[in-house]
């Protein structure tokens, strides 16, 4: 029986090549999108699952309130470690403090490389269980030890054995390699953990870190924990929530709340809005899951429409089968077998499409997804997926076709009724409504990105590079190097800063000024800069003056940004002082000498943070900012800069970043969404058009006789074209009317999450509607014109 089903299905496929192609290819496109999105979603959901203890791992987070606004982040103070260990130790199996992931120079002999890593406590090895390939299991016992990832060891030592070798870090400390661990996979939050050094080394590296040991206000560290076996994340959070306030009531004004963010939330749900967890990448996971489901549905609709459209041809067969004894169930099974066969072919084709496009997809999504050949779950999913798709696309045609009354079809009186085409019309409208929503959505995402990209950023990011200068070798050489670079001819100005141009690394509070409102809890971004900072970046002074080497007093001067002036509530700021609230602080107060235009350092979608640019008296430079010579080519400039750099730092690799590229990174996440959405939209349109093409050819075929009669009676090709196309145009217009409010509602919600956002303009809807119309006309016209120019004598003879 089954064999018979498949036999007839196969012959039907062979006989109707165009329909079969549309069905199989359309479904294959839809299925490959679904498979790709599923692989992506699984990758996202499996983020950090690499860690054995992932169910028990959490990071300690802190929320603090300033001026009624709750800010949440990973930064915590050092004394919290001792408090949690001593008072709340029962709740944890392991606790480890950690530095931020920082970039450092690792030198062995003549070979210096730049790698990223953390300083952590020994317990981190029990929490994260990195796989040790060589050396000691606990490589953090000794203060001057370093653990390297396999690739770092390879880059540094080649094929030599790394264990026992001494590596110079930032030209300062000598660390001995104690173990080598397997590289951590990219779908973890520690893919940039290329070395680990002991925390006990870190706390002696710089005096401010040492001093932070009892400073509850210095939130500059991270803490990872593994909770005890008999506890839950929520349970532990409820215990430690007020630990900081209880231990240190003087912090009460900021209402610090300590809580655990479970590892499963790090990647997907790490956004906080005014203290409340508010999603994150999980929204993209949902978005793409929905898009994937819809695209598959669009492809299934093609199958349904083409199968039912051809029903008159199949009706006789149904009648005969019923007459000679088939019951309805057997017919349903037969039609489902046919859809199963089509889906099976489509699946094979879709796997090929996925394999061919996986690289491109990985590039768009910035992922490293590998096709899961050996994953049983994937093949089990595939089986279910095939059955599910066959059921979705095949059930309506099966129910419809098997319902025909044999006496009617066998007598030849069978005609599909006036309303028989209605479900097909509804499905076409659905297809186009989904496609139009996708078009509008993609256009709005793109226009929001474009809008934010065009936002004035407050400096000139083109022709600007930064060189990280964290190695000890750079200390005290700022002015010297500036002169060297200027003399090289590749640079027209150079400055230094304590943080990169595109990020804020330090925030400070605890200041007072004349007219400061009572109870105001200020928090400024804090950047220490050299005298030429404004000039080298191309920032604008809107009031007062720039730093100047002419005035010795400028070492106590400060530039503030425009937002800070409004924030502080002062008028005529020039000459006013910002003082430390702590009267015992021996530093002189800072005098405002100028106001600069706001510079976007953080999110281009958010308001600029109130900021202070203070004169760097102590040489806290972490970056050189170099304005390239506009009269020379970039490569010439880079060559002369590198030559100068290598002359003075022969042992260090020449590392630099283009600021415009760094700035573009800020849009990466949204651009990824946009480019994926663009691809999916194009596929959705393509699938819908395939279906439309099939339906148009069906209608043209069905109306051959009518077209012939009309032609004989004098209808022109144009008349006939309009006749055959207008039904489809009507459907697209209905789809547009349905899609517009849905898209408008959804996108208004989406765009709310950006503080700096574009208006949703009417032309986007118009463009989407017209676009859909034009695409429809092109698709339909091919068939309708072909039918219209056919010789009428031929079509009239077809009876």
């Amino acid at each position: 029986m089954i064999k018979n089903y498949f036999k007839i299905a196969w012959r039907n496929l062979k006989k109707n090549k165009v329909y079969s192609f549309i069905n199989i290819f359309g479904l294959a496109l839809g299925m490959s999108v679904t498979i790709m999105i599923t692989l992506w979603v699984v990758d996202e959901l499996n983020f950090n699952k690499f860690f054995e203890n992932h169910d028990q791992i959490a990071q300690i987070y802190q929320s603090q309130t300033a001026n009624g606004q709750v800010g949440t982040g990973q930064a915590i103070p050092r004394p919290l470690e001792f408090l949690l260990r001593k008072e709340y130790g029962d709740n944890f199996k392991k606790i480890s403090m950690s530095s931020w992931n920082t970039s450092m120079y690792l030198q062995y002999g003549d070979n210096t490389i730049s790698k990223n890593g953390n300083f952590m406590q020994e317990e981190a090895l029990d929490i994260f269980t990195p796989k040790i390939v060589k050396g000691e299991a606990n490589g953090l016992k000794e203060k001057n030890s370093i653990m390297l990832s396999e690739s770092t060891a390879k880059a540094l030592f080649g094929n030599e054995n790394a264990i026992g070798k001494v590596v110079k870090i930032n030209n300062k400390s000598d660390m001995m390699v104690t173990s080598v661990f397997e590289d951590l996979p990219t779908n973890t939050d520690f893919d940039l953990l290329e070395f680990i050094m002991p925390w006990k080394h870190y706390i002696t590296r710089q005096s401010w870190i040492e001093d932070a040991v009892d400073s509850w206000g210095n939130n500059s560290f991270q803490m990872f924990v593994q909770i005890a076996d008999n506890t839950t994340m929520e349970g532990v959070t409820s215990k430690v929530l007020d630990s900081k306030i209880k231990a240190n009531p003087s912090e009460a004004e900021f209402n610090p709340q300590i809580f655990l963010l479970p590892m499963k939330d790090w990647h997907l749900r790490s956004n906080f809005e005014n203290g409340v967890q508010s999603g994150g990448r999980i929204e993209n996971v949902w978005l793409f899951t929905i898009i994937g489901a819809f695209i598959l549905f669009l492809a299934c609709i093609n199958f349904m429409n083409l199968s039912t459209a051809r029903s008159e041809k199949r009706a006789i067969e149904v009648g005969i089968r019923k007459a000679i004894g088939s019951n309805r169930k057997q017919l349903i099974n037969q039609f489902l077998s046919e859809s199963l066969l089509v889906v099976l072919f489509a699946y094979v084709l879709s796997i090929i499409i996925v394999l061919l496009s996986l690289n491109g997809f990985n590039y768009l999504a910035s992922k490293q997804i590998v096709f899961p050949w050996s994953n049983i779950q994937f093949w089990a999913f595939s089986l279910l997926f095939i059955l599910f798709t066959a059921l979705i696309s095949g059930s309506y045609p099966a129910l419809y076709l098997s319902s025909f009354k044999p006496i009617k079809v066998l007598k030849g009186t069978f005609r599909t009724g006036r309303y028989a085409a209605l479900p097909r019309k509804v499905l076409v409208v659905t297809q186009f409504a989904v496609s139009i929503v996708l078009i509008i959505g993609t256009l709005i995402v793109m226009s929001q990105i474009e809008y934010s990209k065009n936002r004035p950023i407050g400096y000139d990011k083109g022709g600007l590079i930064q060189i990280p200068v964290m190695s000890e070798e750079f200390i005290g050489k700022q002015d010297f190097m500036r002169n060297q670079f200027l003399a090289s001819g590749g640079v027209v100005e150079m400055s230094t800063s304590s943080s990169p141009t595109t990020a804020i690394w330090s925030n400070r509070g605890g200041y007072t000024w004349d007219g400061k409102p009572e109870g105001f809890q200020e928090n400024f971004s804090w950047t220490e800069v050299s005298a030429e900072y404004v000039k080298s970046l191309g920032m604008k002074i809107i009031e007062g003056r720039d730093f100047s080497r002419e005035f010795a007093t400028d070492s106590n001067a400060v530039l503030v940004n425009k937002t800070a002036i409004e924030y502080m509530g002062i008028t005529n700021p020039i000459g006013k002082f910002i003082r430390d609230e702590n009267l015992e602080n021996p530093d002189p107060p800072m005098q405002i000498i100028g106001v600069v235009e706001d510079v976007i350092t953080q999110s281009p979608y958010e308001p600029v943070k109130e900021g202070l640019y203070v004169f760097d008296k102590e040489g806290n430079a972490n970056y050189y900012n170099l304005r390239l010579n506009p009269n020379k080519s970039v490569s010439d400039n880079l060559n002369s800069i590198e030559r100068t750099f290598k002359t003075h730092f022969p042992n260090l690799p020449f590392r630099y970043d283009f600021i415009d590229e760094q700035y573009a990174q800020k849009f990466a996440s949204e651009e990824r969404v946009a480019s994926l959405a663009r691809v999916f939209t194009i596929l959705a349109i393509l699938i819908s058009c395939l279906g439309l093409f099939g339906l148009a050819s069906f209608v043209a075929e069905q109306r051959t006789k009518e077209i012939g009669v009309r032609k004989v009676l004098g209808a022109s090709v144009c008349n006939l074209w309009i006749l055959l196309s207008k039904d489809f145009v009507k459907l697209v217009i209905i789809a547009f009317l349905i899609a517009t409010p849905i898209a408008f509602y959804m996108m208004s919600q989406w765009i709310q999450k950006f503080a700096y956002r574009t208006d949703i303009s009417w032309w986007i809807f118009l463009a989407a509607g017209l676009g859909a119309l034009v695409i429809t006309l092109i698709t339909v016209s091919f068939q309708s014109i072909k039918a219209a120019i056919a010789n009428p004598t031929k079509s009239l003879r077809t009876e």
Binding site: R11, G319, L410
Partner: protein, 225 residues
């Protein structure tokens, strides 16, 4: 074999209600060959559809092999149909996508006959119908007479007790038509009951009894043998 009494069937459209069968009653005995004649629209085909369990009467009783079948649901009808009734249509109604062999095999598949047995029986019946040499061909590759022979083969392959033939020669020339009528007569001679609707007096002469209908009612009944 068949006992119908006061059988009624109506067709309704929005405005008109047409009476297709008007309290029709007659019997058909086992092994009989009955021809039903009458002008177009007199209700012959409706009758044949009801007899073939393809359609349900609106009133009256229909006893098939001693069982009252009026009011059977679709499933029960299909079940009874596939085991006991064979159909021969004017327009042959072969499935274009299946070969001659597969078309004839189909009823056996639906009645759940095993593969070996199917092969044997299809071969037998095709040989009997002298169409075995065409068994791998598709219906469009055959002449009308050959197609109808295949259709008859399909109708009898299950050894049905009753064959319902709806103008079996209507689409055939006289030579081919006579061949088909001879086939039906042979089947009847070995015990198969046949009810045939026809316009042709010539064909009707092959039967034992002619029932003439008008406006859904029986007008006359001539016994020929």
């Amino acid at each position: 074999m068949i006992k119908i009494k006061d059988l009624e069937k109506f067709y309704s459209t929005d405005e008109v209600r047409t009476i297709a069968l008007n309290k029709l009653s007659f019997n058909v005995n086992d092994g009989e060959f009955v021809a039903i004649m009458g002008p177009s629209g007199c209700g012959k085909s409706t009758l044949l559809n009801i007899l073939g369990l393809l359609d349900d009467p609106d009133g009256g009783s229909f006893e098939f092999n001693g069982i009252e079948v009026a009011g059977f649901n679709e499933r029960k009808r299909a079940d009874l149909r596939k085991h006991t009734i064979g159909f021969v249509f004017q327009s042959f109604n072969l499935i274009d996508e299946l070969t001659v062999y597969e078309n004839v095999e189909l009823p056996l598949i639906y009645t759940g006959v095993k593969a070996d047995e199917r092969k044997k029986r299809v071969k037998e019946v095709l040989e009997k119908m002298q169409i075995m040499h065409r068994c791998k061909h598709f219906p469009q590759q055959l002449s009308g007479g050959q197609q109808q022979r295949v259709a008859v083969a399909r109708a009898v392959v299950n050894n049905p007790k009753l064959i319902l033939a709806d103008e079996p020669t209507g689409n055939l020339d006289s030579n081919n038509g006579n061949e088909v009528m001879d086939l039906l007569t042979e089947l009847n001679e070995v015990g198969t009951t046949i009810v045939m609707v026809t316009h042709s007096e010539h064909d009707a002469k092959y039967s034992h009894r002619i029932i003439r209908m008008l406006d859904g009612q029986k007008v006359t009944e001539n016994v020929l043998v």
